[in-house]
């Protein structure tokens, strides 16, 4: 019965998405269709997917089916197990919230040059692609779904193609998506060449030799890592995510990156099966570097969405750290701790899906209202858009891994797993793991700095430009979308134990080891290993924080109702003797992170430029000062540019073949013939 219901719900989800795609194609000039037909259809599709996943996550069996598509001897296999269900749920949540947010957001495009139908069509295809990826059960349909996801999101990145930056980003995105896909394909190819079949079942049955397994793992890591935004193959991410429409950015950063993580987990933990601890070390190194790199670059950004994109890189690093711990512990013979690491990674995937979607939706609201990307022009939005400000604050707290919100639980679980490293036999490993944890700690602290900067500059203080001054709150749909995510951020921050219980079931399907201890003490307490080792109670922390807020409420009531306290008075802040405060007196984003920039200087390629116009009378007295700071991703210089140069140079060399002279061409033909004759004789 339940198997039937999950199948049915999944089918309904796909059906609705196809209907949405069809409707988008028919939109033409009927723009209201988008608002009243396409987005609701998508929303319900997301809901259906969420329910389908929920049915399976709550312990019912998944399903297994084939579709009459694909190759004659290889129809598309679809299968839903716990892992698929978990990621399908993420997709469902992302879809629901972005379709709540979408109708309000796309009003901006109503009069623009970009066709709305295309947006709807590609969004539907994008979601279909993602859902198919997590359900695919053979390499062929997986690749098709994967590329469908890439291509449709490419169109979404290129949607506002009149800006050259967007075109460039889209190109880069598509290129790297393609390369990544090819690497993944190659990784699957290794299985196929040993097993001769392309179904995941056949893959699972194969026992690869350590070398081939490592090659498959490495290719998979690179391929999926490229999509997920792993350092140093992340370069497309900070370019592409910011330029897509914001609800798409939310889907891309919040959900698509998780789909890449899904692929990696599926490949590593399910298909390869036999894990080696050395892979774990690789993952830990890659993860910590990615996390640290991401956050340091995020810190330096002044474009809101770009900052969020780099922060996605950071969070992917954290997820990889969790995965690395899982592989390491399983490889070293501690499946239970490995499961815990995997739970932490999946939990962080969930957290990141929630808060990054939330933040991108918030950024979208800001963008729609102010038409500004640059936070140097913002400020004081908390007074203009209080609800968005509240939700964004929740997002910022969550992403900074602060209790009692969801980001904290997942990082806490990661720490707890890392601290179990003492039981490992190898001294090197015992040292590596805690150092990774230290990197994680550093990352977390820097992330907090980053988001204080973001929130402080954007929402607090005084508006720095006129457009921002006239910003208004987004539509109710947009607020509902954000509110829902904010609520979930809190919910999953508090209900750590029940969530871990579900995740534990999911993970047990892969590692075979059930982490029962984590939730052994009821829903109130999360005890990953044992209660005397570590415990966390989200609800009680929330209770404590609520008490503080209640105290505020009480004071407020006393103040307003009973007039026991004197009412609050307002007055101008001191402007340091320069008269009233002006927006220019505020700290800028660049100034805010200047101390950190000084500390970690070599990490970035910094281009600083100062302009100074001196007054004519007093040579030492500048009338105007200008300062420009550009941060360039070092991977460009050390990785991408050399590759580009190499290709350009080889192309130039090869171009010498085509001299334009017929006699040269005849000579080629002649020489070819002679050489071949000589070869065979």
């Amino acid at each position: 019965m339940s198997e039937f219901s999950s199948t049915l719900l999944t089918a309904v989800s796909f059906g609705l998405l196809f209907a949405a795609a069809l409707a988008s194609m028919l939109v033409g000039r009927r723009r209201l269709w988008i608002t009243w037909l396409v987005f609701p259809l998508m929303g319900f599709a997301g809901l259906a997917a969420l329910l389908a996943a929920g049915v399976v996550l709550l312990g019912n069996p998944g399903f297994d089916s084939t579709l009459p598509l694909g190759l004659p001897w290889l129809p598309w296999h679809l299968r839903m197990d716990g892992l698929s269900a978990f990621f399908l749920a993420l997709i469902g949540i992302g879809t629901i919230t972005s379709s709540l947010f979408g109708p309000g957001y796309v009003r901006e495009y109503l009069r623009g040059p970009y066709p709305l139908g295309l947006l709807g069509l590609m969004t539907s295809l994008f979601i279909i692609g993602m859902e198919l990826v997590v359900l695919a059960d053979d390499a062929f349909s997986f690749m098709i779904a994967w590329e469908l996801m890439s291509v449709s999101s490419y169109f979404l990145v290129a949607y506002q193609h009149h800006q050259p930056a967007n075109r460039r980003a889209a190109f880069l995105y598509l290129l790297m998506a393609q390369i990544g896909a090819v690497l993944i394909l190659l990784s699957f190819g290794i299985f196929a060449s040993f097993g001769g079949a392309f179904t995941f079942d056949a893959f699972r049955a194969i026992q690869l030799s350590p070398i081939w397994a490592s090659v498959a793992f490495g290719l998979g890591l690179l391929g999926f890592g490229m999509k997920a935004g792993m350092f140093p193959v992340h370069a497309w991410l900070p370019e592409a995510h910011p330029v897509a429409p914001s609800h798409i950015s939310a889907l891309m950063s919040g959900v698509m990156l998780k789909v890449a993580i899904y692929g990696f987990v599926r490949l590593t933990f399910d298909l390869i099966g036999t894990l080696y601890w050395s892979w774990g070390v690789v993952l830990l190194i890659v993860g910590s570097v990615t996390a640290l790199f991401g956050v340091l670059y995020a810190l330096m950004q002044n474009d809101v969405k770009r900052l969020l994109a780099y922060s996605s890189v950071e969070n992917i690093g954290i997820i990889f750290i969790g995965l690395g711990l899982a592989v390491l512990f399983i490889g070293a013979g501690y499946p239970k701790l490995g499961s815990l690491g995997l739970i932490a990674a999946l939990y962080h995937a969930l957290s990141h899906a929630l808060f990054k979607s939330l933040l991108f939706l918030g950024a979208g609201t800001i963008l729609q209202q102010t038409h500004e990307h640059d936070m140097g022009k913002m400020g004081g939005l908390i007074r203009r858009m209080p609800w968005t400000a509240l939700f964004f604050l929740i997002g910022c707290i969550s992403i900074s891994a602060l209790p009692p919100f969801t980001g904290f639980v997942s990082e806490w679980l990661t720490f707890q797993t890392a601290l179990q490293a003492t039981i490992l036999e190898s001294g090197v490993l015992r040292a590596v793991v805690p150092i990774t944890a230290a990197m994680l700690a550093l990352t977390g602290a820097l992330a907090a700095t980053c988001f204080v900067k973001l929130y402080g500059i954007v929402f607090l203080g005084q508006p720095r430009s006129r457009r921002v001054k006239h910003a208004r709150e987004g539509t109710s749909g947009m607020l509902w979308g954000q509110g829902l995510l904010a609520g979930l951020c809190l919910l999953f921050g508090i209900l750590g134990a029940p969530t871990v219980a579900i995740l534990s079931r999911v993970v047990a399907g892969l590692t075979g080891s059930h982490v029962t201890s984590a939730t052994a003490h009821g829903w109130l307490w999360l005890t990953p290993v044992a209660p005397e080792v570590a415990s966390y109670s989200g609800p009680m922390v929330l209770f404590g924080v609520t008490l503080a807020l209640l105290a505020w409420g009480a004071v407020y009531l006393l103040l307003c109702k009973h007039r026991r306290l004197k009412p609050i008075q307002r007055g101008p802040a001191w402007g340091c003797g320069f008269g009233r405060l002006t927006p220019n007196m505020q700290y800028t984003g660049t100034a805010f992170v200047m101390p950190i920039q000084q500390i970690f200087r070599p990490v970035w390629r910094v281009h600083e430029e100062q302009q100074r116009e001196l007054s004519t009378e007093l040579r030492s007295h500048p009338t105007q000062l200008g300062y420009q700071l550009q941060i360039e991703d070092i991977t460009w210089r050390w990785l991408y540019q050399p590759v580009v140069k190499l290709i350009q140079a080889s192309a130039r060399k090869v171009g010498l073949l085509q001299t334009g002279n017929l006699r040269h061409y005849l000579t080629y033909s002649f020489v070819t013939l002679v050489v071949l004759l000589w070869l065979i004789s």
Binding site: G655, Q658, N661, W678
Partner: protein, 230 residues
Amino acid sequence: MSGFLDTYAYLTLTEQAILTLAAMVLVSSFALLAQSRVVATIRLFALQGFLLVVVTALVALNTQEYHLFYSAGLTLLLKVWFVPWLLTRQARRLGILRDLDSLLRPGVVLIAAGALVIFCYSVALPIQRFAESITRDAIAISLAVVMLSMLMLITRRKAITQVVGFMSMENGLFFGAVTATQGMPMVVELGVAFDVLIAAVVFGVFFFHIRDSIESLDVDMLNQLTEVDE
């Protein structure tokens, strides 16, 4: 060298004649390669064609494959008369009949041509099954003629001499087909002849197109379409 047998002496007279003619065809190829005057090139080409006609006729006699006489007639018509006539006429109309097509380093080219002949022979040498008959030698010669014609195509700059080279290549093929295999099936022969005819006509048309566009027939000046950075 005790096992040495003068196999040549055991061949029939016709076969000896065929081989002699083959040598002459080869020589004509060399001559084509060395000749730089347009009109002389065309005439040499006609001569080569005539040698082919004779060879074809001899083979036809030798093997009683009488359809080869048709081939011989066709060749006479096409390669000895029509193509040289056409080329001469066009060259005259273009006013290049007496031109020289300067050959770069003729000495080197001729030495290379000699080496090429040896190479062709070494390629044909391992063909075991036909070692006893003249077939193998015929293959070697025709291969050499084809290769020498290619060399001619490479070293010539005039469109018209390139066409002669191209046609001479066809001659080499034809020679191979006749001597080694006693001619191809008739349908193929006819098809080939038809193609040669059309090709000759199209070539004729092209000379004028080329002259109209670059005011010369120097193929080295046809170099607009290139991928090399200027």
